[in-house]
Amino acid sequence: MSPAKKAKTNTEDYLRMYRQMVRIRSFEDNANQLYLAAKMPGLTHMYSGEEAVAVGICEALTDNDRITSTHRGHGHCVAKGAEFKEMFCELLGKEEGYCRGKGGSMHIADQSHGNLGANAIVGGSMGIATGSALRAKLQGSDDVTVCFFGDGATAQGLMYEVMNMAALWNLPVIYACENNGYSEYTRTDEIAAGSITARAEAFGIEAFQIDGQDVLAVNDLAQKLVARCRKGEGPFFIELMTYRYHGHHVGDINREYYRSKEEEKDWKDNRDPIIRFRSYLVEQGIASEEEIEAMNAEIKADAEAAVEYALNAKYPDASEVDMHVFAD
């Protein structure tokens, strides 16, 4: 069993967190372009703006720890260690995708890094995450499972059923609620009565509300809670205040009827997790502007090369259509 990682305090860790956030943004920019250029089948939900949540939390985990993800899941997938090439192949329905093109954007799973998969049913993975934690407890394993979900999913009944059991049985699960202010096309305050953290507290689960745009704060809290989960002190609940830059999905472009452009501009200009952390790295002398620009350029090139690769990659053979319905 891998020991818990230490809190991120050194240069290398900081730079990796920055890099992972930029990788997510870069992935999403390219995915959005693929949609706009009509090169992607279907549509997808962008994680841009929420990078500090996925990275801050996943950097506190090892490959042996599990996560469950959502329809807005590319960020979790990258943060948990996935590669661009297999991810873009999956988005384009190609054979070399993580799921051989059978899952697509909303079902990417990367078992090798502990990502049990995105889920296209809002709140649909809460049972899975809690069950993974139950398995850890029953088998005496010290791994932790993080359940990512949005504010919209707090309206689903399943959440209350599994939080009740997780609390009764002290399961090593962390419920990470990404509150981006919108439940699809509706403001969260129109769909959620009362306090979100109080929902968990009602079950006796220790709950935290945190600035989801501050990667160091998120990581610091995640490190502490993961370590406590490993000691049998779980479950925990975190409400991460964040913002999605795009609409509900890439096709949700004219959205002023539910959200103003001024509000979007304010979050992008003043609370962007990447800009904030970049300033911090420069101020602290951890990296120079030039080093950061070089890193950004390298990631951009990586992403573009992966897109190119995926565009030219093979589709699965028709013979695969009825393969994997059942396991052997």
Partner: protein, 331 residues
């Protein structure tokens, strides 16, 4: 050979598999000390403890979802769903999650779990505790469905289900829990997708599942007295379905009735009848008949409830008509 009840057979299957494989656990409502309302699991918590016989709150979607997550990460949960009717509560976790995970992940993730539940009317339990909903889950690719017709099948099929690497739903007939049958002392498994020819015959094939196998066998006895030789076949699993055995029998007898306790419309009987028509049409001397439960919610009053389920007498009557040529519609 010894005789044990279906309930004891299920209990033995679980105990044997839990001894054999420590990743197997039971989860559901009142499964531990209570041993379920039917007392099927009595004694298991004493042997395996509350870590492996896990009592949950009344939260079917919750514990079903947790079973999916546990199965995806290395456990083999056996979910105890107290009544088959509660399938409606777990549909998302069973059909959107468990059934599709292996396929959606391109074969990377497995969901080896079993949902043990029940079917069967005439227990005076009314519309929400009497349904036979096997067709609903059999419709979803990725789920296997077993329908044991006796204590012997219940044990052998459950052990196979627990070892299967896919989600399996197994429906036991709740009226049969106290019925005894010969069950060997020594270990055995019943493979999925192998129908059991319960009785050989030459004039008509009666294909029956679960609770309806006894009905078909009684009907076959009655028909024999009239000189009609009925073959009785129990498919044992409807996913996978042993089409070959069914088709071969019908080619031999040239007539068939399919009997299942689920509602008749869009049901198990319809599916099997279609496959027989598609594969044995030119061998048929009469249309394949379906006999399912009436298309009404199960009524409470015994005077009404008993009418809704196929009986041996009704099977005999239909068989007679098929064999006499009465049901051949001349042009």
């Amino acid at each position: 050979m010894r005789n044990i009840t279906l309930s004891q057979a299920v209990n033995e299957a679980l105990a044997e598999e839990m001894r054999r494989d420590e990743t197997v656990f039971i989860i559901g409502e009142d499964v531990a000390e209570a041993g379920t309302p039917f007392k099927i699991l009595s004694g298991l918590v004493e042997e395996f403890g509350t870590d492996r016989v896990i009592d949950t709150p009344i939260a079917e979607p919750g514990f079903m979802g947790m079973a999916v997550g546990a199965a995806m990460t290395g456990s083999r949960p056996v979910v105890d769903l107290m009544f088959g009717d509660f399938i409606f509560l777990i549909m998302d976790q069973l059909c959107n999650q468990a059934a599709k995970t292996h396929y959606m992940s391109g074969g990377k993730l497995n969901v080896p779990l079993v949902v043990r539940t029940n079917l069967g009317a005439t227990r005076r339990s009314a519309a929400q505790h009497s349904q036979s909903l096997q067709a609903l889950v059999a419709h979803i690719p990725g789920l296997k469905v077993a329908l044991p017709s006796s204590a012997y099948e219940a044990k052998g099929l459950l052990k196979t289900a627990i070892r299967d690497n896919n989600p399996v739903v197994i429906f036991e007939d709740k009226l049969m829990y106290q019925d005894k049958a010969e069950v060997p002392e020594e270990e055995y498994l019943i493979p999925f997708g192998e129908a059991n020819i319960k009785r050989e015959g030459s004039d008509i094939t009666l294909i029956a599942t679960s609770s309806m196998v006894q009905v078909a066998e009684k009907a076959a006895e009655m028909l024999a007295a009239e000189g009609i030789s009925a073959e009785v076949i129990d498919p044992r699993t409807i996913v996978p379905l042993d089409e070959k055995t069914l088709i071969e029998s019908v080619k031999k007898t040239s007539r068939a009735i399919v009997i299942d306790e689920g509602h008749q419309s869009y049901g198990v009987t319809s599916e099997i009848a279609s496959r027989l028509n598609e594969n044995a049409f030119y061998h048929l001397d009469a249309p394949v008949l379906r006999m399912g439960a009436m298309d009404v919610p199960v009524p409470f009053s015994p005077a009404l409830e008993d009418i809704t389920v196929p009986t041996p007498e009704a099977v005999v009557e239909n068989a007679r008509k098929l064999c006499s040529g009465e049901m051949i519609h001349a042009a």
